[in-house]
Amino acid sequence: MTTVPETTPPVSERAASTDVLLDIDCLKMHFPIRRGLLRRKVGEVKAVDGVTLKIRRGETLGLVGESGCGKTTVGRCISRLYTPTGGRICFDGVDITSMSEKEFRPLRRNISVIFQDPYASLDPRQSAGSIVGEPLKVHKLVENKRDYNDWVERLFVKVGLDPNLMSRFPHEFSGGQRQRIGIARALAGEPKLIICDEPVSALDVSIQAQIINLLMDLREGASGLGYIFIAHDLSVVKHFSDRIAVMYLGRIVEITTPGELYDNPLHPYTRALLSAVCVPDPDLEATRERIVLEGEVPSPVNPPSGCTFHARCVNAIPECSKTVPVLKDLGNDHEVACLRVG
């Protein structure tokens, strides 16, 4: 481990390194729909349909979108909980897309996941200590019982839990404490990338801030630790991320820095998403423009042709229903997939 910086370096510095940790190219995850006695394939859910992303070492990428847009599926493909049906995922220079479970196992400790539901994601019959310590055993990171105990104890302290609670079971903890257990488990293998899938949305408002601060402290404490932060709450994602990718129906429509996203959103969907978030400030709210989208998110089984957003888009031209827009780099760390922009 290199030296720990005193304070967080500014975003640009932290993300400036061109050292790419994760390189995703045209990722596709189509789930088959099977029906009937013979379980014949009658269709596909195109959960992720061509996602291209790069994550630099130590960078936090926010992935935001509404339910069904495929943000969780992207996370699960990266952590190899799913095997993608197309595209390529390179982690630290190694193609992990079609590795077998056995081949991937030694790499698995580098990528860990924090799940949304702190109730469902912890085994109720395992003690908190053994939940946190399990990755140490699986990846054979400790040699003896004493090392193991020390390590688990350090993890407990790191996430702000009292090590005396190691022998307790998940039901004895509050929601916030359980999420801390989940975080300690994710940290156990000293990963390079943590995928946080809606880590705070199940928690009460006053507890959310505790967890967000903890995740930020951990990032500052371990150089090179990157996050993929998946959430539907744009305020939280904006607060936490170095760059934000906005997803709609299996594709990325815009990707940029938080400041650019707020000041200069270019994709019509991003604008609608931003305007839908209420800011706790009555005077500001009274002046903010509100864009109300027509209709609902179409089904990913049969997504619209061309740009999947064209049917709900106010700027759409006939061309939009024919051509699939690709992400265009507009400079200033800003990429947009829209035919009408750039």
Binding site: G176, D204, N213, L274, D281, V292, E296
Partner: protein, 341 residues
């Protein structure tokens, strides 16, 4: 597009609902949970009132108590609910008077459209029920009105969808149906309990606007129960902040957001990330966790988490709501001098 009066406009205040010292408790094995512990508030005609708090603070139970929909082991043990000159708590829950009120005068829109619609009845039947019952429409009239209502909440080909069942609608669509049912009888007041929490951001925005214009259409008042401070900042005229079964602070929208005085309100505002702020501000969380409501001590329930607590807070019982500057602005705290600046 929003024709609703904003918080700054002068509203003629005609009181519609007055809740006085409402108390609801749940007797469970471990003891008594005082879910609502002496809550008083008012709602004026055509006003939008926000009731804000975290899970377990009693915000939902207080609303269910007003409608007398609290289930065993919950019991309303005290207080008065005055609505149009009658104390509703004088009536039994199943009395004809109470039935007359529910759905017709006061209606409720619940959080989960999945569970609050009856899965074995068609949408049409669920809409026509209250129209026939409360407004005395014939089956035919009710059906025609139901189609109009569905159309007004933006459900395409409304007429043909009347015969569909709830499972044939998406989550957002179901909540639209709930709104249609909620305003079907042109109620005086609608209570919306976390009406959009289970939905996506853009759908939330769609539905909040729809709900407000529907309620505006029937000139009703709205009680908006939520944990989302942004939503009340946008829509509410007055706000009540609840903690551990009591109201800890109340006031006009701008007083709550720009001059909060209770440490809990201040803490809530500091702990949420805001879309408009520069990145990197450190959030200030409220330490600890919300209290267990079983056998609460008489002292301030926020005391264990409070950053400004003094000697008096530890010794004396929770104070009453004290008026502060600003119209109807009140808070329940001994340390308001410390929180004043």
């Amino acid at each position: 597009m929003n024709a609703l009066p904003t918080a700054c406009e002068v509203r003629p205040a005609v009181e519609l609902l007055r809740v006085d010292n409402l108390q609801t408790e749940f007797r469970v094995e471990e003891g008594v949970v005082r879910a609502v512990n002496g809550v008083s508030y008012t709602v004026d005609e055509r006003e939008i009132v926000g009731i804000v708090g975290e899970s377990g603070c009693g915000k939902s139970v207080s609303q269910l108590s007003v409608m007398q929909l609290v289930r065993n082991p919950g019991r309303i043990v005290g207080g008065e609910v005055w609505f149009e000159g009658h104390n509703l708590l004088k009536y039994r829950a199943s009395s004809p008077q109470m039935r007359e009120i529910r759905g017709a005068k006061i209606s409720m829109i619940f959080q989960e459209p999945m569970t609050s619609l009856n899965p074995v009845l068609t949408i049409g039947r669920q809409l026509t029920e209250s129209l026939e019952l409360h407004l005395g429409m014939t089956k035919k009239e009710a059906r025609a009105r139901a189609a109009e209502l569905l159309d007004s909440v933006g459900i395409p080909s409304a007429q043909s969808r009347l015969d569909d069942y709830p499972h044939q609608f998406s989550g957002g669509m179901r909540q639209r149906v709930m709104i249609a049912i909620g305003v079907a009888c042109r109620p005086k007041m609608v209570i919306a309990d976390e009406p959009t929490t289970a939905l996506d951001c853009t759908t939330q925005a769609q539905l909040l606007e729809l709900m407000l214009s529907s309620i505006e259409g029937c000139q009703g008042a709205l009680v908006l129960v939520t944990h989302n401070l942004g939503v009340v900042a946008r829509y509410a005229h007055r706000i009540y902040i609840m903690y551990a079964g009591r109201i800890v602070e109340q006031g006009l929208c701008r007083d709550i957001f720009y001059r909060p005085r209770h440490p809990y309100t201040i803490g809530l505002l500091k702990s949420v990330p805001r879309l408009d702020e520069e990145r990197g501000r450190r959030l200030v969380p409220i330490d600890g966790t919300p209290p267990n409501l079983i056998d609460l001590p008489p002292t301030c329930a926020f005391l264990p988490r409070c950053a400004v607590a003094g000697e008096r807070c530890r010794l004396e019982p929770w104070p009453e709501l004290e008026p502060i500057d600003g119209e109807g602005h009140m808070a329940r705290c001994y340390m308001m001098e410390a929180t004043g600046e």
